[in-house]
């Protein structure tokens, strides 16, 4: 019945007819299901972001007049030494991030083998991550306070009060104290991520390795680490960009005083206490650019200095395999197409 009708080329299907067909319905469903998440994404993420970009070109308060100032806010961001000085504080948090990853990797490797009470340890290590950052801040505010928890503990261990530094006041160590709180908070979470990746390693490999005489360190170095390389790299990238935007510990514990003000704390102060919204927006965008740069730099670093963190095979292995494949191909083709394969297909692919 249908065949002759569709054979007539002049008759075009109307839009409604198309919508009633299977393909049309499928398209409709896709569009409708996508619409709401996309709408939410646009309304709560992209439009505010574009607004922020726009604000960064204005001299403005939250309410009241706005004056267009072009790039002046960006120039100020780079000229003011309090803003860029704040980025150096982030170095402490980056150092903290490295310590944190090392600890997490260590504990995860311990727990991947049979340990008594591992569920308890996992829970205890993960617990700090469940506490909200502000509460963590208050906990450590009392922990570090003069004569409180940490000082009493050290005194119990026999230290004299005069020898104990003032954890939050002494500018040589106060940033380390603060970075330690974020290490405390995130180590457990990193450990769980590592542990998850390690669980997927086939346990037969350990057995085989130990039969071959590999000790635990060898197992870690040659079996575990290569298997979870990609998650280690991911965690490192997240921690480094996270430490550039550290906010809660300095904001809650010291309010950015005594030289602990990170970039975010300064940004918050400019925007909310001095009402320099335009400047703060420009700071946010500069920070975004810095974070993107850092992430790309790290990616490239891992790609060229070490093996590609995301690949299962090492770079050398890949190269070797490709060479072998090529050699095999060449061998097969030799004879008939000897000439062309040498000149044409080169070493590119």
């Amino acid at each position: 019945m249908k065949k002759p009708a569709s054979a007539v080329p002049a008759k075009k299907r109307s839009f409604m007819e198309f919508m009633k067909r299977r393909e049309g319905q499928r398209g409709l469903v896709i569009v409708l299901f996508m619409a709401i998440p996309l709408l939410l994404l646009a309304v709560f993420t992209y439009i505010p972001f574009l607004k922020m970009v726009q604000f960064s070109f204005f001299d403005m308060k939250y309410i009241g007049d706005r004056t267009f100032v072009g790039l002046q806010n960006y120039i100020d961001v780079f000229k003011r030494d309090d803003i860029f000085g704040a980025l150096f504080v982030s170095v402490y948090y980056m150092g903290g991030a490295v310590v944190q990853l090392a600890l997490a990797l260590f504990f995860a490797s311990l727990m991947v083998f049979k340990v008594k009470g591992d569920a308890f340890f996992k829970g205890a290590m993960f617990f700090p991550y469940l506490i909200c950052g502000i509460a963590v801040g208050f906990i450590f505010k009392f922990f570090y306070a003069r004569g409180f928890v940490l000082d009493s503990l050290l005194q119990l261990l026999g230290m004299e009060m005069e020898d104990i530094p003032m954890w939050l006041q002494d500018q040589r160590i106060n940033n380390i104290s603060l970075a330690a709180t974020s290490v405390w908070r995130y180590t457990g979470q990193n450990m769980i991520l590592f542990l998850g990746a390690m669980m997927s390693v086939d346990s037969d490999l350990y057995e085989a390795a130990s039969l071959d005489g590999a000790n635990k360190w060898h197992q870690f170095r040659y079996i575990i680490l290569p298997s979870i390389k990609s998650i280690v790299v991911l965690n490192l990238i997240l921690s480094i960009s996270g430490s550039l935007s550290a906010f809660e510990p300095p904001y809650v514990i010291t309010n950015g005083t005594m030289g602990t003000g990170t970039y975010f704390v300064i940004m918050n102060r400019l925007a909310h206490e001095n009402q320099k919204v335009g400047l703060a927006c420009a700071m946010a965008i500069v920070l975004l650019a810095i974070i993107i740069l850092c992430t790309v730099a790290q990616k490239l670093f891992f790609k060229y200095v070490f093996d590609d963190g995301t690949a299962d095979e090492s770079k050398a292995a890949v190269r070797r395999r490709k060479m072998e494949e090529k050699a095999a191909k060449k061998a097969a083709k030799s004879g008939a197409m000897a000439q062309s394969s040498v000149s044409g297909k080169g070493g590119q692919k």
């Binding site: 409708l32 709401i36 009241g64 003069r146 003032m166 939050l168 006041q169 106060n174 309010n255 005083t257």
Partner: protein, 462 residues
């Protein structure tokens, strides 16, 4: 076929409801506005009504917003009970809001927040009329109530302060007496010497900064106006038009004298050992028990320090130690001011006004909180008993056309007087680490201030 239509109808309704719920957030404000224009019963001014006689048969249920989460269900609910005995037909309900300033700023714009609230300080004077019912003209209300200037615009009053506070220094009388001090200090240097005597003769911390809470450091800014100059025009006019306002003056008055006290007390180690781990809540009971000798805070803190322990009688209040031409001054300012929701129904507005008037005139709220009463001519709180011979003044409003000028210069320069605690914290850090002298810090502030004055084209007259 029917089934499909039903399904389609159902999904269509779902879609409509979902978009509707998104749009609802924006819609409320508009509908609220429409309601008020319909009910056009005239609202009396606050001086025209007599509490206990007028509107006895008015029926309404009003909601009052407050920031005092700690006493909303006890003390404040008690006031509401008392009022409801007087007006059985009016139901008064309290709602306490944490993070009051910020959440109320957002709720105000919806128009649907309740009937009576403390006006957030973020509302500019020119915007008062958009949200709040006029309470009367400035000329009629100013002779009746204190601090009317703070919430009035173009000759109309939109808010009445819930009493006020004076600025001085909280101290423990017993500790000061035990140290052998008989006279209250009257100059910065006398004050610092007394702190030294306290340090030498007692175990108390001479002055507790409460540095780590932040705001007690910002509170030092409250003294640079009237207490330091005796000039009620200083804060809203003079300081904006002065060249280098923070520079040292020979007679040790002005802002420099205030910051001098703070800087020197820290530099001479007359404060707590580790300011970074100071704690506000416990400091109240420690000054009560005599572990702390003094704290530089507004008079509102006196009652809280008295209540924090068994030695209420030891807690005293003295004027800030600066003498201008042989006379001491203290600044007094209003607390949060009450405002009535303009968009509520007129019955609710009248009921809210009745409650407001009862609360500020007939209730015991000012004795309970130890603040300066809203009504003029009432007795000052006990806390200010030591203020004999000290003149209490309030800041005059800024000149016409310059209402925003102080805020603009202040924000632009980032000196942050009364709104940013950080520069004061910075002052303390410089004293603590000895990284900068007071003159260097003050020179930085002067430079920032001058730059802001230039950028905004402010005329320098002094």
């Amino acid at each position: 076929m029917k089934k499909i239509t039903l399904k389609r109808a159902a999904s269509l309704t779902m879609a409509v409801v979902m978009t509707g719920s998104l749009a609802a957030c924006g819609g409320n404000g508009g509908s609220g506005k429409g309601n008020t224009e319909a009910s056009a019963e005239p609202i009396p001014t606050i001086d025209q009504i007599t509490v206990g006689e007028d509107y006895k048969d008015l029926e309404a249920s009003i909601k009052v917003l407050t920031n005092r989460t700690d006493i909303v269900d006890t003390v404040y609910a008690g006031y509401a009970q008392e009022f409801m005995q007087l007006y059985p037909n009016i139901k008064v309900e309290y709602e306490a809001v944490t993070d009051y300033e910020e959440s109320l700023t957002l709720r105000l714009t919806t128009g649907d927040w309740g009937d009576l609230c403390f006006i957030p300080t973020s509302v500019n004077k020119s915007e008062l009329g958009d949200y709040f019912t006029p309470l009367g003209s400035y000329d009629t209300l100013d002779p009746i109530y204190n601090f009317c200037t703070e919430k009035s615009y173009n000759g109309t009053v939109y808010g009445i302060a819930n009493g006020g506070t004076a600025n001085g220094v909280v101290y423990n009388k017993k500790v000061w007496a035990d140290a052998g001090i008989t006279d209250i200090p009257r100059t910065p240097d006398e004050f610092l010497e007394d702190l030294q005597i306290i340090k030498d003769n007692t175990d108390a911390i001479p002055m507790y900064t409460n540095f780590s809470a932040g705001w007690p450091m910002g509170a030092w800014d409250a003294y640079i106006g009237i207490a330091a100059t005796g000039n009620p025009d200083y804060m809203n006019h003079d300081i904006v038009h002065t060249k280098d306002p923070f520079a040292k003056q020979e007679d040790m008055t002005g802002p420099y004298a205030v910051y001098y006290v703070c800087y020197e007390a820290v530099a001479r180690k007359l404060v707590e050992e580790d300011p970074a781990s100071s704690d506000w809540e416990s400091s109240k009971s420690r000054i009560n028990s005599g572990e702390i000798a003094s704290m530089v805070l507004g008079s509102w803190a006196v009652q809280q320090c008295k209540d924090a322990g068994p030695n209420a009688d030891d807690v005293g209040y003295m004027p800030f130690p600066i003498t201008v031409d042989g006379k001491q001054y203290a600044g007094a300012g209003g607390n949060y001011a009450f405002g009535i929701n303009k968009q509520a129904s007129s019955d609710n507005q009248i009921a809210a006004m009745l409650y407001l008037k009862w609360l500020i005139e007939d209730s015991t709220i000012y004795e309970d909180e130890g603040s300066i009463p809203a009504l003029k001519g009432e007795e000052l709180p006990d806390a200010l008993a030591d203020f004999d011979g000290v003149e209490l003044l309030s800041d005059n409003p800024p000149a016409e056309g310059e209402e925003e000028l102080f805020n603009d210069v202040n924000n632009k320069s980032e000196v942050g007087i009364n709104n940013d605690d950080y520069p004061n914290c910075y002052l303390l850090e410089c004293a603590l680490y000895g990284s900068k002298t007071l003159d260097e810090v003050v020179a930085e502030w002067n430079a920032q201030w001058t730059q802001a004055q230039e950028d905004l084209g402010v005329e320098i007259t002094q």
